[in-house]
């Protein structure tokens, strides 16, 4: 069965600092991987996705993520955080056959001025 672990429940960074959110997955083959962002009271917005090919993927809002098969990880990064990035971030893995997604429990990002 597929699973996703986001080890950090809550992260606080200063505005302008760099950010890395961790995501580890378990899946039997090469997975489809996603990062979503959720602002309070809102639905999920896709930041970026990995299906195959280049292991470093670029997303919206200046985010990027790197797929590392050897570490079963798909960490999200941003070089300089803005106050508007404060939100909850979810990593997800999708079964390439049945199309069902499994989400991590999320990481809440707080940005200090």
């Amino acid at each position: 069965a597929q699973s996703v672990t986001q080890p950090d429940i809550h992260i606080t960074v200063s505005e302008g600092a760099s950010l890395e959110l961790r995501c580890n997955y378990s899946y039997g083959a090469t997975p489809y991987l996603f990062w979503y962002v959720q602002s309070p009271g809102q639905g999920l917005q896709l930041l970026l996705k990995y299906f195959s090919g280049d292991t470093l993927v670029q997303g919206i809002k200046g985010f990027e993520a790197e797929f590392k098969r050897s570490q079963s990880s798909f960490n999200l990064r941003k070089p300089s955080v803005h106050w508007s990035d404060a939100a909850e971030y979810f990593c997800a893995v999708r079964n390439t056959n049945a199309g069902k997604s499994t989400f991590g429990d999320g990481t809440t990002l707080t940005v200090k001025p």
């Binding site: 809102q42 639905g43 979810f90 069902k100 429990d105 999320g106």
Partner: protein, 113 residues
Amino acid sequence: NAGVTQTPKFRVLKTGQSMTLLCAQDMNHEYMYWYRQDPGMGLRLIHYSVGEGTTAKGEVPDGYNVSRLKKQNFLLGLESAAPSQTSVYFCASRPLGRQETQYFGPGTRLLVL
């Protein structure tokens, strides 16, 4: 183009009452999904549909029923609501194709007293 819409946005039920949540999409997507999101947790799949007239169980299907009589609509029913079903419910849809992404609705907040 409204995308994915959910009705209602908020509802309060008493234990034992029934209700139906409606998800509608105008993008002609084949796949539709119902998730629930509880505090401190990611989204968990309740039921999904791979096409009109077909439904399947997800990770947490107990206490819920679904129907997909029309391609654009996916209904989630609670026959006898329980306090444990207090949650935020998200609907999503995506096109046919293994590398397509999901589009999420804004959510329905349900409180069962």
